[in-house]
Amino acid sequence: MIVYIVRRLMQAALVMVVMSILVFVGIYLIGDPVLMMISPDASELEREAVRRALHLDLPMWRQYLLFVNDALHGNFGRSFLAGQPAMGLIFERFPATLELAFASLVMSLAIGLPMGVYAGLRPSTPGSKAIMTGSILGFSLPNFWVGLMLIMVFAVMLPDLIPGWPRLPASGRGATVDVLGVPLSFLTLDGLRHLLLPAITLSLYKGALIVRLARATAREVLPMDYVKFARAKGLSERRIVGVHVLKNIMIPIATVSGLEFGQTVAFAVVTETVFSWPGVGKLLIDSILLLDRPVVVAYLVIIVFFFVVLNLVVDLLYSVLDPRVRLESRAT
């Protein structure tokens, strides 16, 4: 098991190196960050001074080695723009994105899983058909539009039309509580209210995916002999569905949830923008536009590391859910 984890972390390190080179070269080729940052009427002398200060006058490979040297000492450089350490900038905003992604994942599982299992158990009832049709909507509605509609209905129209209807906030994180120095919204009522609309927006697609996956897997598991044998043993329907069927369904669900969670953390930009959620997505977009290389590189390094850890967690979860998966054997 230890061997397995160490191997995975080494793979992660390799990916991080390759990716940092790619990002470095990519941003180097796009253009000169100094042109984006300094006012157009600055003299050539001033520009040269800024370039030297940021080591942009050096050849690319030296800039890269400089970066690697710093990074190995835990320093990912300062944002060209803000002047703050890039890592600090990202970690300031990362908890907000993680929290949003996690809330949307929990929401999509809590709603999608029972719906999907129900649709799998009773495929021909009107309820199941409604669920399946609804899931197509969940797939196909664009995120930003759903976000805007939710804002319009729950933050504007309903509270305006019906007196006393609670007005849901449409921007920001609301009140936060610091836990171990990390600000969290979901521990306060106000924070929860702020979290609700963006989380729903993000959970729609994920929920639809889980509904369809849960239904398909349930349809696959139900005709299995072990389900019929469980009936022949005289087990209650609740135990059969809740244990025998559900535990088998959870295997693909765990994989997809892990992937989806990573996707949301990395690419929640659109939703974060619509709801002015102070997450890391907005920071990344701005940094790319301004060629703020240290922030972009630091962000991608974190995301790669995050994905690796996430996949590791999913794999470990897998071995808990499915005893046939042997982690040791894969590590050799």
Binding site: Y226, K228, F229, D322
Partner: protein
Amino acid sequence: MSATLSVRNLRTHFFTKEGVAKAVDGVDFDVAPGEILGLVGESGSGKTVTGFSILGLIDPPGRIVEGSSIRFNGEELTAASPERLRAIRGAAIAMIFQDPMMTLNPVLRVDTQMIETVQAHVKVSAAEARDRARKALVQVGIPSPDERLRAYPHQFSGGMRQRVAIAIALLHKPKLIVADEPTTALDVTIQGQILFEAQRLCRESGTAMIWVTHDLAVVAGLADRIAVMYAGRIVELGRTADVIERPMHPYTKGLIGSVPSQNTRGHRLAQIPGMTPSLLRLPAGCAFKARCPIAVDKCNEMPALEEHRPGHWARCWRAAA
């Protein structure tokens, strides 16, 4: 002694879009305590559906048609509530399935699957249930049961899994076991062991057993009586020796004739010509007439299952021939 199970006019039909498939269409038989009844037939003859009907495990679009009667220890099962059937299943009537690779849930440990079966029927502590599970494993000859209880099904061989399935079936000392081709997927040596165990358990505990199979050779050495099914009906029923040595129905004769033996070496193997008819479009009269070598005009009428010799029944106009 009165019969453990008494099936009368059992009809299980499947109401599909293409029409009504009469998988089981008027089956009568009794099983006495301690008796092993071999239910023999080809695929699609209705033997498995008969087994599942007894446990009330027929899934839609199939159902047991009105007028059918399954009396178990005097209780009418076709009129029993779903909850009552659940209480009987796994306790008084147990079932063993064909493929031991598929009957145990791959993601649950063996102890989980055994303990839940105990606790589904009697209110006992987990420790007590575990102890019963352990004893059941010992009973079917599984070595180091404590260790085996903590294992997952994939860590067992096929024969061992079938033993576990049998141990689960035995947990509540059932009055009746329905075994659906439990040895078909096993090696011949393992098959022999399982057959021997089954026979011993029935003799010792007075458990009645219905052994569903397509393999006459298997039941010939195991069953007390044999019922041969064809197209949803019993065509011949009698003591094993009578049916094997003096078969009356041409279908049974064909089945026995198609078992290869020493004497048939070098000769072309005998086979029954034609195919099992579709259950959706059964011909009028005897379902076997199209494949029957001795069919006559009369066969366009359905013959009744009649006792041509003492205890030996056949559904054929020419049974005496």
